[in-house]
Symmetry: C2
Subunit: 327 residues, 2 copies
Amino acid sequence: MTMSNIISIEKILHGDRRAVARAISAIENDNGEAKKILSSLYRHTGHAYRIGITGPPGAGKSTITNKLAKWYRRHNMRVGIIAVDPTSPFSGGALLGDRVRMTDVELDDGVFIRSMASRGSLGGLSKKTSEAADVLDASGVDIIILETVGVGQSELDIAGSADTTVVVLVPESGDGIQAMKAGLMEIADFFVLNKADRPGAEQAVVSMKMILGFRAHNETTWMPDVLKSVASEDKGIAEIGALIARHKTHLEQTGELAIRRTKRVRERIEEMIQEKLEVDFWNTARRKRLEDHLRSVLKFEETPYDAAKDLLGTFEPEVHRPPDDSQ
Amino acid sequence: MTMSNIISIEKILHGDRRAVARAISAIENDNGEAKKILSSLYRHTGHAYRIGITGPPGAGKSTITNKLAKWYRRHNMRVGIIAVDPTSPFSGGALLGDRVRMTDVELDDGVFIRSMASRGSLGGLSKKTSEAADVLDASGVDIIILETVGVGQSELDIAGSADTTVVVLVPESGDGIQAMKAGLMEIADFFVLNKADRPGAEQAVVSMKMILGFRAHNETTWMPDVLKSVASEDKGIAEIGALIARHKTHLEQTGELAIRRTKRVRERIEEMIQEKLEVDFWNTARRKRLEDHLRSVLKFEETPYDAAKDLLGTFEPEVHRPPDDSQ
């Protein structure tokens, strides 16, 4: 450990907003510093409770996130928000037609908001959001809200890796039922039907509960419920907060929380390994060789499978010895 | 090449539906046979034109796909459809509340429809859809339509890898503008505003054209346009077909088609390599070792970074020699 770190671990641990922001930027840019910071912070994590908020575009995820953050603030809890939803006003995705003003929570010193880009990160997105959440966790927040759009594999992975995952739907256009089939059903710990003052809300809730009723369950199993909210009017927010708390207690009592956290760590290690294997593989020589192969493949002189096989044949990765074996 | 292949290459090349279906199943199941089949088929590909149809859930992608397929049939072209949209009736995602009947195209011998699951494929989704498209291509179809839901990185990747990518939007709820910001803008060769008989359609088209106008372009650059359709009434379908044809001509004349196809092949080779590296890495011994590490990481005795480093240190992949070097 050297003192050359520009980003101070001490400052992050004391909740310094600027240090936290810079650490998350280092993660986003994937520079060498990020790994050092995260290694130093790791043993200070594990305190914060992670909540995933997901659902289709336009369901009101940001409004719920906003109101829920304020609800936690009223309970004197510190909140970190990570928005990876391209349609979220938090992540700058809704500048045009922006319907939610975020400034009220943004100006609160007990809330830290960070948006992360969902494009161009080549599959490392869930690793990066997890790492950003670790920084927030070590900085002393009590609650971390991960807001992601609920369509698409990597986006669902992020929300699904939270301790409690809340899926937000709206009454319109049969979205509720369709969305429940699109991978959201598996990750939801409970559903919120937002904009519940609109026509069709009651019917949507009934359909959703009916579908949920088909799931196998017994008395010790958590049974996902459906809550109603009108987040823009702050209706239903306390109920969401209370159900999250009840779910947390359930996870703790059944040992499920430890299982979820183990799964999360396992996935992160797997992602790190995948990333490193790719970086090691795609050196300049192999990139150049790929271009040569491409020419033959496009002339149908060679198949893509033969090209891949040849490239793999050239791979002998640098062997990394664990530090404790080096003696 | 042995005769032990259960799936006949000859039959696929002659367009036998059953052989095609079985080949795509082999790809989905990722069994050893798939690679052999694809290697044999590869030099028979390159004829079909690939169209990506994407957009938010409920925009009417399946209806457009359906009507467009029928339009191509009227022009005596054979059509293959691959649906990876979890909300598509093609992929069985809209059994509840199904609003589109697909049987009219499904019963037509000149249309082959295949749905592919978008969950549980661990990142191999775009590779598998590309390979399934290759099978259809070799089977003699003229047009391949890839229908994917347009939110989420891997789903956008699939649509974006087509020769022409059509983004379908609807007038409601400002979706148009929001969706244009969510990664769809970059991949769209043109937009279709479907359900254009609904209120707000004209305004949505104006906004979309305004946003598109901001993009840098000159006389030789393709300028994405916005078409209107009411697909359920077959309105605007011929115009979509005509604009796809015009875009194809543009791509051919500018050399852009070759560039897109090169990019597609490059990405496939990269995906195959990534997959193989992971399979080689995660053998039983290393899986077991990961479990040991997990225990220490969860007790905060070790960081996930050290665990990953140790696991990587044990990796020396089998060296694969290309066949032509083995002599």
